[in-house]
């Protein structure tokens, strides 16, 4: 089944890498994936979005039409790229304030995460993207956790391997806590 994921943030936050990692994870899990990108003329500091489409079959149209899942880590990106989301909205509660429209949308699962804060605790803001992927893996079951982890480890520089492994683990734990809180 076709699933569309949109990741939004600001340039320099590792959004493109996160999208690439999801696509790579899909390939490792034997699925099909496309990743496309949107950005303005500036790169760093401006809004960006990575669009990932997953399917069990070869993908026809490679762009996201209406995201099933959105992960938003920056207000401007949320405002611009996240007008319509179907199923799951994950957002960094320190960086994004949600629209009333989404809060009132029936059937939309909303998960506030603290990826930025956790990354700061790890001493490296650059791993915000990896923490988010860990949380996403637990919150959506979109791809096997092992495949995402493997894709993370294959996509980061060797000297940053341990840091990213830890960031991904912290993201997983964070996601589990959120799921438990929701069930409770």
């Amino acid at each position: 089944m076709r699933q569309e994921i949109r990741l939004g943030g600001f340039g320099g936050q590792g959004i493109m890498l996160a999208g690439f990692i999801l696509g790579r994870a899909a390939i490792l899990a034997g699925k099909h994936a496309t990743m496309t990108q949107s950005y303005g003329p500036e790169i760093r500091g401006a809004r960006v979005a990575a669009d990932v489409v997953l399917d069990d079959h070869p993908i026809d149209y490679p762009k996201v039409i209406r995201p099933d899942i959105a992960v938003m880590l920056f207000q401007e990106a949320y405002d611009y790229y996240c007008r319509d989301v179907a199923r799951v909205l994950v957002y960094d509660e320190d960086l994004v304030r949600l629209d009333k429209k989404h809060l009132e949308q029936e059937g939309l699962q909303i998960y506030p995460i603290r990826a930025h804060r956790i990354a700061e605790e790890l001493g490296k803001r650059v791993v915000t993207n990896i923490v988010s992927l860990g949380a996403l893996a637990v919150l959506t079951n979109v791809l096997p956790v092992e495949a995402i982890e493997e894709a993370v480890l294959r996509s980061v520089p060797p000297k940053a391997l341990e840091l990213n492994r830890e960031a991904f683990q912290r993201g997983l734990e964070h996601g589990r806590t959120l799921v438990e809180a929701r069930v409770a």
């Binding site: 899909a26 496309t36 990108q37 950005y39 003329p41 993908i59 149209y61």
Partner: protein, 392 residues
């Protein structure tokens, strides 16, 4: 320097074998390396820059040479020079750079110098939309250089085809001693997708070479071939081997010496065109999707074919019998196939004001339905579906 000469077969150490998740631009560069390209000269321009970037990194690893040139005129000239010295050579660019390369693309045709030019199309005219999609160089690909000539141009629709068709572009360039174009677009160039590279499935062709050794008095005719069949492609001596030959952009005789008269023009230019045209059945490629029962046919290419495929599926779900003819070679154009479809309703979606639609009309001998966008964003499947419903 020896390694710059095109390897005989597949250089397994150089090929990035395996299953990858990679962009179309990266896949294009890997296709070039796999095909034996060992010389790249270019001037980076969005959205083709990633090809230059990857070639700059990869070529030194495989014994090749990357040169960043002062502009696109020089880039094109440099790859013609490298080709004449025996290297498989490539450049990549986008709209404005492609315009600047046109004169020397004609020179490569005239000198029968095999080479590959990749145009990752963006929105134009002029500097237009540097970071955004366009498909508006399709007619420039065919007619951009002055004078009469024939061209081979591929239109990849996925990163996998960016790899496969770049390999094929080199093979066709070598086989027919001619420049070959890869007419990609921003969406295909920048998107990442599964790319499988299997060295066992790569075929390598090399240009015909003279049989006689470059001894004193050896009579080599680098432009001597009669007009038909395999003989349309003359053997190519390499610069520095010792043959005494002459290469020029002026109209020349079989030896390569300028001969400025109407008879030579007629004989030589006709042969250069016919060596491609006479083999068009072997060159032309297209994909047929559910054509048999379809009264409505989409004719699409490049990334737009992906939107068309989705529109086709959505239409079929609604009970509309729609098929697709996907152009893999834009030039030579699959005219005979379009002729076969002339009784169907034809819809041509493309990210330009209607370029290949004109060629479809020429072969179908009737007006076609157009879905156009002038660039900046892909055509959405819904827009094509809407046209299908209008026509049905």
């Amino acid at each position: 320097m020896r390694k710059l000469l095109a390897p005989e077969g597949v250089d397994r150490e150089a090929v990035l074998a395996g299953e990858h998740f990679m962009t179309g631009d990266d896949a294009c560069a890997e296709g070039a390396i796999a095909a034996g390209c060992r010389f790249y000269a270019g001037y980076p321009i969005t959205p083709s820059s990633e090809i230059a970037e990857r070639m700059a990194k990869r070529l030194p690893q495989v014994g090749g040479v990357y040169i960043q040139m002062e502009d696109e005129l020089a880039s094109m000239a440099a790859i013609i020079g490298a080709s004449c010295a025996g290297a498989k050579a490539m450049t990549a660019t986008s709209g404005p750079g492609f315009s600047l390369m046109q004169e020397n693309i004609g020179l490569a045709f005239m000198m029968e110098a095999p080479c590959v030019v990749v145009d990752v199309q963006r929105g134009g005219p002029s500097t237009g939309l540097p970071t955004l999609l366009g498909q508006s160089d399709m007619m420039q690909a065919r007619f951009g250089s002055h004078g009469d000539y024939a061209v081979i141009a591929y239109a990849p629709a996925s990163p996998q085809e960016m790899f496969d068709l770049t390999v094929k572009a080199f093979n066709m360039a070598e086989r027919f001693r001619t420049p070959v174009l890869v007419m990609a677009d921003e969406l295909v160039g920048h998107m990442s997708e599964r790319v499988v590279i299997d060295p066992d499935k790569i075929e390598i062709e090399r240009r015909p070479r003279p049989e006689a050794k470059p001894a004193e008095g050896a009579r080599i005719l680098p432009f001597g071939a009669n007009g038909r069949g395999e003989n349309g492609v003359p053997p190519m001596p390499l610069a520095g081997e010792g043959y005494r030959v002459h290469f020029t952009g002026l109209t020349h005789d079989e030896r390569g010496y300028p001969q400025i008269d109407p008879e030579t023009q007629e004989r030589m230019i006709r042969r250069k065109i016919r060596k491609i045209w006479d083999h068009r059945d072997e060159i032309v490629e297209y994909e047929e999707v559910e054509l048999d029962d379809a009264p409505i046919v989409l004719v699409a290419y490049g990334s737009t074919a992906r939107a068309a495929l989705r529109a086709l599926r959505l239409a079929r779900e609604r009970g509309l019998r729609v098929g697709m003819l996907r152009l893999i070679t834009a030039w030579p154009f699959p005219g005979r196939k379009v002729e076969e479809l002339k009784d169907r309703e034809l819809i041509v979606p493309e990210v330009n004001a209607g370029q290949m639609a004109r060629e479809v009309e020429r072969w179908a001998r009737k007006p076609v339905h157009r879905v156009n966008r002038l660039g900046g964003a892909p055509i959405a499947p819904e827009e094509i579906l809407q046209k299908i419903e209008e026509v049905a």
